[in-house]
């Protein structure tokens, strides 16, 4: 084992100890690693902005609870990106503006999980707090447990899958993202409506269940929530004009 400025190499896994390194140093070290690398991030102690802005397909295991914006801005346009796993819970805005790659949170996520994400996959094994998937622009967000109020607020594209119950104002001011809920829905937000599950929806959900491993979710038990398309002025009939 070699130790250099808080960076250790253990077999083929790079060990980053957050107690030894500032947040910028952690992110710089991660960015310097070649694709295919494996990293164990120790003692995060709820620190913000860990593992942000990474384009390469490295594997990161966060050993503890992380703060805000974990994995934000990661990935590339083609959907590739790092594979991040958190053995704990995360603060606000996990995977904010995610472009590609995968983030798996073993615990729960605080507010605004996957905010404005354009691609990639976010799997929350616990619950997600308010406004999960706010302004989602693509990619997929799967929550094994419950989702808080205003989940999917103004989401434009992409998919949100909720294995538990959804809080109030689900899908408020929704654009063209799809939301699937297995449990109860406390209330729908403005212009959110219950839609029929099509064969395509079942395919999408089956793939998300496979990827997430949330096999308590059964496509036939899901309720689909989509936009009523009354609140915004786009019309799919005018698609060619946009």
């Amino acid at each position: 084992m070699e130790s250099l400025n808080g960076t250790e190499t253990l077999d083929c896994t790079v060990v980053l100890d957050c107690d030894d390194l500032g947040t910028r140093a952690v992110n710089r070290a991660l960015r310097a690693l070649p694709g295919g690398s494996s990293v164990s991030m120790r003692t995060p102690r709820g620190r913000h902005n860990l593992a942000v802005g990474l384009a390469d397909d490295i594997t990161i295991t966060v050993e503890g609870n992380a703060g805000y914006f974990l994995g934000g801005l990661c990935g590339a346009k083609d959907g590739s990106g790092p594979d991040i796993e958190v053995n704990g819970f995360v603060g606000w805005s996990v995977g904010e503006n995610l472009m590609g790659g995968t983030i798996r949170v073993r615990g729960s996520a605080s507010q605004s999980a996957g905010a404005s994400a354009r691609g990639g996959r976010i799997f929350i094994e616990g619950d997600a707090s308010l406004r999960a998937g706010i302004s989602l622009k693509g990619g997929s967000l799967a929550i094994a447990g419950d989702a808080g109020a205003m989940t999917g607020f103004m989401a434009q594209a992409g998919t949100i899958l909720i294995g538990g119950n959804a809080g109030h104002a689900l899908g408020d001011s929704l654009y063209e993202a799809a939301i699937y809920v297995q449990g109860s829905i406390a209330s729908l937000g403005a212009d959110a409506v219950i839609d029929d599950m099509t064969d395509d929806d079942v395919l999408v959900v089956k793939r998300m269940v496979e990827e997430s491993g949330f096999d308590h979710i059964e496509p036939e038990r899901l309720t689909k929530v989509a936009s009523g398309r009354q609140l915004y002025h786009f019309s799919t009939h005018n698609h060619g004009s946009y």
């Binding site: 102690r45 709820g46 620190r47 913000h48 609870n65 703060g67 805000y68 819970f89 603060g91 606000w92 605080s110 507010q111 707090s129 308010l130 808080g148 109020a149 205003m150």
Partner: protein, 301 residues
């Protein structure tokens, strides 16, 4: 932004370590509120203390010769009064019977001085500047007690001064800290001014604190009074409210401002962010959760 902290100790053996546990919590939230801070600590007094003495915490926005003030107040307060001095203020133990006399002398001779808080068990410290520096300067780590509430302030609605800093103590042993902003506070303040309530600052959070105390005066319990604040005060808030034997936390309907609670058999801790809880003993085994919007959570000693 702003950071809020509350720490209620259930395990009496932790009481000598209250300050030591509190300081890292405040330091973790330093950057959420770098312009000023305030700390209130509740500690048990000897049951045999006679006559019963009240603890007065004084502060001011102008320079004050605190020792001269202390000596001047000792002249009118009965013997046995104790003085603990710190930078922007003073904590003074005064027999309850002498309280009115002390207040009269303060008003007559030290008009720039305000009572930051009054309580049987309570001392309050406020100062401008980085919260981390304030903790170090006044040796907060050595303070003991069973309950603490603290605030790191990033001012949005009013000036950065000692008297604008939280916690606000609108009644004996009642403290309020606030992360957020109220939009209708001028309206509520006019109502309170008409009802004879006096203010020490033009801070929006002080309005919420004094409205809460106003409701308690009408006979509401703490939870009812807190519900009135939610009903009448328009804005964003995470509030931590403490009394001599209770700690409450409440968030607005949209949960615009963060809050995390950690609960063990030894303590209940609330903070704006988890990283402020990360150094607490036994945190890995604690029940950690976010308070739901518009739900009043209350813990007793």
């Amino acid at each position: 932004m702003c950071g809020v902290v509350g720490l209620l100790l259930r395990d009496p053996s932790l009481q000598p370590r209250l300050g030591e546990l509190l300081v890292p919590m405040i330091e973790a939230l330093d950057e959420r509120g770098p312009d000023s801070s305030g700390i209130a600590v509740y500690a048990d007094r000897p049951a045999t203390e006679l006559p019963p003495t009240l603890r007065l915490s004084l502060g001011a926005d102008e320079a004050v010769d605190w020792m001269a003030l202390g000596c001047s107040l000792l002249e009118v307060a009965a013997s046995g009064a104790e003085i603990h001095r710190f930078g922007a203020g003073l904590v003074l133990d005064v027999p309850e019977a002498s309280l009115a006399t002390v207040q009269e002398r303060l008003a007559a001779e030290w008009p720039q001085v305000r009572v930051l808080g009054t309580g049987w068990n309570l001392r309050v410290l406020k100062d401008t500047g980085r919260p981390t520096d304030t903790c170090a300067r006044y040796g907060i780590a050595s303070w003991d007690g069973y309950l603490a509430v603290a605030h790191t302030r990033m001012a949005t609605e009013s000036a950065v001064t000692v008297l604008h800093s939280h916690p606000f103590v609108p009644a004996r042993d009642l403290c309020v800290v606030h992360n957020g902003s109220f939009s209708n506070y001028a309206t509520v303040r006019r109502y309170l001014l008409d009802a004879g309530v006096r203010f020490d600052s033009d801070n929006d959070s002080e309005v919420a604190a004094r409205y809460l105390a106003n409701r308690l005066q009408f006979g509401d319990d703490l939870e009812e009074a807190t519900r009135w604040v939610m009903k009448e005060m328009d804005g964003f808030f995470t509030l931590v409210i403490t009394s001599a034997d209770e700690m409450s936390v409440v968030r607005d309907a949209f949960a615009c401002k963060p809050a995390v609670v950690a609960e063990t058999s030894a303590y209940v801790a609330v903070a704006s962010e988890y990283r402020a809880l990360a150094e607490l003993p036994g945190i890995t085994d604690a029940t950690v959760f976010e308070p739901r919007p518009e739900e009043v959570y209350t813990w007793s000693r």
